[in-house]
């Protein structure tokens, strides 16, 4: 909950991706609950069962249709061209979105800083995508470059079309080039991401989802366009179990909003209920729009997030 007193900033690839994490996540690959046949034919493990589990419909060929979709078996039998409609078969991309608003600069000790955790998770995910020859993109919402006076509420910066292990360093350099700052206009940022992305694949959004204007509009935009979205809500150990007690004046690091409270045991109990209700509402909304949801503490290890949580939900295999 409380802002990190002396935040530890990642400077190098080693800070973001320790050897131990590489060992744990190196055997993973990006996956999807939907059918994505894959970038290079034959490389992606097909999710099809039997010959027709994803069969949708037959449709007569018409001008403009992709010749590769023609069902040649039926052509051989009927001497007419029909398209056998399957689920989408597209190049599978991995798009990692990181929230760099001021609220992500929280968590004690310094190693449990939420932004650092998100950077490390983004790096590990990107690494999995890169070594498996997926098209990887990474977008940071909000924040500012180190040394910059101030950023913009709806700003996004992206590294796109990365492919192959050799681009790991580029991704690390990109992630190290941002530090958390200010308020984020999530909807505007999501609008920009949705408008600029191409193709299909898996999108992982790392954020604390503390948006006072709501997260629904932004997530709705991100969930469309052929991307299977996973929301990873990163909260610090202190946000899940606050250590603060007594009469305090709580000041929001993003917008300076102040609240005077007397923190007592009943209040902490109520706060705990609100945390559960907030995360539950986000989880429910994700289910409603067909997105996956993971709640992560910035105190946990990144490889646990990938190996235990995201793999269990089908984002990784």
């Amino acid at each position: 909950m409380e802002r990190t007193a002396n935040p530890e900033r990642a400077r190098t690839l080693e800070d973001l991706l320790p050897a131990g994490v590489i060992r744990e996540v190196g055997r993973l690959d990006v996956s999807s609950r939907r059918v994505f046949a894959g970038k290079l034919k034959g490389e992606r493990r097909s999710k099809r069962r039997g010959e027709s589990v994803e069969f949708a419909d037959h449709r007569p060929y018409s001008v403009g249709d992709d010749l590769r979709r023609i069902d040649w078996n039926i052509f051989g039998r009927l001497d007419r061209m029909f398209l056998k409609m399957f689920m989408e078969e597209e190049d599978l991309g991995l798009h990692v979105v990181v929230d760099a608003s001021g609220s992500s600069d929280a968590g004690e000790p310094a190693g449990a800083n939420k932004f650092l955790f998100m950077q490390r998770a983004a790096m590990a995910l990107g690494y999995v995508g890169l070594v498996n020859l997926n098209r990887v993109a990474c977008t940071v919402m909000g924040g500012r470059a180190p040394g910059e006076a101030e950023g913009s509420a709806g700003a996004v910066r992206s590294a796109r079309d990365l492919r192959g292990r050799t681009r790991t360093v580029d991704l690390a350099r990109f992630l190290c080039g941002v530090e958390p700052w200010g308020v984020l206009d999530f909807r505007r940022a999501a609008e920009r991401i949705a408008a600029s992305r191409r193709g299909k694949g898996v999108m992982v959004v790392l954020s604390d989802f503390f948006f006072k204007d709501g997260y629904e509009g932004g997530l709705r935009l991100l969930s469309g366009g052929g991307y299977e979205v996973y929301c990873v809500q990163v909260l610090s150990p202190q946000e899940l179990d606050p250590g603060v007690r007594g009469d305090v004046r709580l000041v929001d690091v993003e917008d300076g909003d102040a609240a005077e409270v007397t923190v007592s045991a009943p209040l902490l109990k109520r706060y705990g209920e609100y945390v559960r209700s907030y995360t539950g509402a986000l989880s429910g909304y994700c289910r409603k729009i067909g997105a996956g949801y993971v709640l992560a503490s910035s105190g946990m290890s990144v490889d646990r997030l990938l190996v235990d949580e995201l793999r269990r939900r089908g984002a990784l295999a």
């Binding site: 027709s52 929280a106 939420k114 609008e191 408008a195 935009l221 690091v253 209040l267």
Partner: protein, 692 residues
């Protein structure tokens, strides 16, 4: 409870309480703590702001007593009184699933799920509270219940009443259908009929009263994840049927007649198995009642999910044919659900689609439509000429009308679509104003709100499973001048594609009208130069015109309304259904026919006295046409009962049979007594403390 002199109580409370609190609590010094966000604290903080003084009060029993004395004095000044009677009981809504899967006979004792569901619903009715138990209210305190039967749509079979006899009779009278289940319409219908609460004495509307829903179903609802009960509503799920029940079903069937060789008829089918173990089955195709082909299909075990197999039969026939595709399980136990074992297709004589393009001048649309093989030369006419054709009935001859930047008037209302099939570009039909459209929306209309033009946008989301968009990629489409539209709450319009500025493709369907609306000007976008544009035109014309090449449009899903046009002059229209039932049916002056919704799967024959259309059959001075209605739903054919009813924000576990556990009981009088007891205990604690 009401007060005789509330103004005295308010004035005294407004002065005395803040004064006492201020004296004690405005001297706090607080430590400043920077937090990531006050969002999570927001409500807690609000509570705390209200509660903080009481936290302090807890430490100062004397102050607490002073405030208590003040509160009691204030209440006394207000002269509170309780009125006898007038308090209504709980509102119970029984939602009974009557969809196709409820015909499965796995409810034990050879009974169907529907019979078991009725038994459970009767249990809920029996457990309802009768009048006269109330603590303070001597009058009508009984629970009232409403019974809604639902499948794809919802129907109130009994409005709110506390008469258990009527409720039981209404439940007994529910019959099963062959439709899929959707819970959303049923919940919305109940919410719409819920009585409104008002603030006593003020006449202020405080919204609908909370309802207690009892969903009696096998949990196989298509839209569970999108259903949101109202705030304060309670939901109980009474599961019927077994979770492990396997089933074979026809989940897709389609008939085609070749455009190039009209005598060739092809029928595509897809059959699904949900048996955990491997099964084999025969797929039998019958043409006009005679078995024409049989294939053996082997299914592996479906432990990881349903398994589908598909295939095609083809033969030659110039005559209209009625085809049944039936799956028959080989060996083992008989099927629990047989309603979905057959799919029907009616394939008429071949002809091209008649398409009219109503425009004042367009480059892309005539080119695009002219390239479609299923269209026999689009007729390009002006809006004025089309208005004239509408008036004299000639417009009924078109299968699909493409409107470019213009919408005709209908029944004196400008911009409203007449019955028919339309593809609309660059215009917003069935428009309502943002504030004044409530009445139209309440009437169940497919209406839109026009917000005018805006700048550039790009496509972000589209329904990949809709027949018009399946296989299309709209990623690359950029709209330079967007027409911003909005679907008002309650409108039946369905958004098929969204741009960054809102809906970009909307389907309107009501009565005899079906339309696909592209509100922006395609010439002000790069869509016409994208390959997906021609594909969209082709699929949209096919979808609206019903395929054209042999009567795809004569196949509907159960639950849908059959819409077609009969030749001008058709009279004495009769519709005979699968059970041999025969009804007289009205038809509008333009020949627009709307029958349904079709609740039973099978073949329907529509006959009339008058001229026959191209490809219609004629016998005994009557012309006729055959339509097919099919279940064809993979979800409905997966009959394993769901352990949990998944709603948008939570899952509701099964509450067991119909014992009625969970019927809401008002306990506030007991709570009031409890509060009094607590006050007495506090008083006792205070005295004890003083004595010590």
């Amino acid at each position: 409870m009401s007060f005789l002199t509330p103004q005295w109580a308010i004035a005294a409370g407004a002065v005395a309480v803040p004064l006492v609190v201020l004296l004690y609590f405005l001297k706090l010094r607080r430590r400043v703590v920077e937090v990531s966000s006050t969002l999570l604290w927001r409500r807690a903080v609000e509570d705390l702001r209200a509660n903080a003084p009481f936290q302090r009060l807890r430490r100062n029993i004397l102050l607490f007593l002073q405030l208590l004395a003040v509160a009691a004095g204030v209440m006394a000044l207000g002269q509170p009184q309780v009125r006898g009677g007038g308090s209504a009981g709980g509102r119970v809504v029984i939602l009974l699933d009557r969809s196709a899967s409820m015909s499965a006979g796995d409810a034990g004792g050879g009974r169907t799920r529907l019979e078991e569901a009725k038994r459970a619903a009767l249990g809920v009715i029996e457990a309802m509270r009768d009048a006269g138990w109330g603590f303070f209210d001597a009058g009508p305190g009984a629970d009232e219940a409403m019974v809604i039967a639902f499948d794809e749509s919802a129907e109130i079979v009994q409005g709110f009443t506390s008469d258990k006899g009527r409720l039981r009779a209404s439940v007994e009278g529910i019959e099963g259908t062959d439709c899929v289940s959707r819970l959303g319409p049923a919940v919305e219908l109940a919410r719409a009929r819920a009585p409104r609460a008002s603030v006593e004495g003020e006449g202020v509307d405080a919204g609908a009263v909370p309802l207690t829903f009892h969903v009696v179903s096998d949990g196989r609802v298509e839209d569970g994840g999108r259903v949101e009960p109202g705030a304060g509503d309670e939901v109980y799920y009474h599961r019927v049927g077994e979770a492990g029940t396997g089933n074979l079903g026809v989940v897709a069937v389609r008939g085609e007649r070749s455009l190039a060789e009209p005598e060739k008829v092809a029928v595509f089918y897809s059959v699904q198995s949900t048996y955990a173990e491997g099964v084999s089955a025969d797929v039998v195709v019958s043409v006009d009642g005679e078995a024409r082909g049989r294939r053996v299909v082997e299914f592996d075990g479906a432990s990881g999910g349903p398994v589908e197999k598909s295939g095609v039969f083809e033969w030659s026939s110039r005559l209209p044919v009625r085809v049944e595709v039936r799956v028959e399980k080989r060996g083992g136990e008989p099927e629990a659900l047989t309603r979905d074992d057959s799919g029907w297709v009616s394939v008429g004589a071949s002809r091209g689609l008649r398409v009219a393009l109503v425009t004042r001048g367009s480059y892309f649309l005539p080119e695009g439509l002219g390239a479609l093989p299923q269209v026999s030369g689009p007729v390009v006419i002006s809006p004025e000429a089309f208005e004239a054709e509408l008036k004299d009935g000639r417009a009924g001859g078109y299968d699909v009308v493409v409107l470019d930047g213009w919408v005709p008037s209908w029944e004196g209302e400008a911009g409203r679509l007449p019955p028919g099939r339309y593809l609309v570009f660059n215009e917003v039909p069935n428009r309502v104003s943002a504030d004044g459209g409530a009445a139209r929306v309440a009437g169940g209309g497919a209406v839109l709100v026009d917000r005018g033009t805006a700048g550039r946008s790009s496509m972000v989301r589209w329904s990949r499973d809709h027949r018009v968009l399946r296989g299309l990629d709209l990623d690359a489409v950029t709209i330079f001048e967007t027409r911003v539209v909005e679907v008002p709450r309650g409108s039946t319009a369905r958004v098929l594609a969204e741009s960054t500025r809102g809906p970009a493709l909307v389907e309107l369907s009501s009565g005899g009208t079906r339309a696909l609306v592209v509100p922006f000007d395609v010439a002000a976008s790069d869509w016409p130069v994208d390959v997906s544009f021609v594909g969209f035109l082709s699929y949209a014309v096919d979808y609206l015109g019903g395929g054209g090449s042999g009567g795809l449009g004569r196949t509907v899903r159960t639950g849908e309304t059959l819409m077609d046009r009969l030749p001008g002059g058709a009279a004495e229209v009769r519709v005979s259904g699968p059970g041999g039932s025969l009804v007289e049916w009205g038809v509008s002056g333009e020949g627009a026919l709307a029958v349904g919704p079709m609740r039973r799967a099978g073949l329907y024959e529509v006959s009339w006295r008058g001229p026959a259309g191209e490809g219609d059959e004629e016998a005994g001075g009557r012309a006729s046409r055959v339509y097919a209605a099919n279940v064809v739903s993979a979800a409905e054919s997966s009959v394993g009962a769901a352990e949990e009813l998944a709603l948008s924000t939570r899952g509701v576990p099964s509450a067991g049979g119909g014992s009625g556990d969970g019927v809401a009981r008002r306990l506030w009088p007991l709570f009031l007594v409890f509060v009094l007891v607590v006050l007495m205990v506090e008083w006792w604690v205070y005295n004890r403390k003083v004595h010590l």
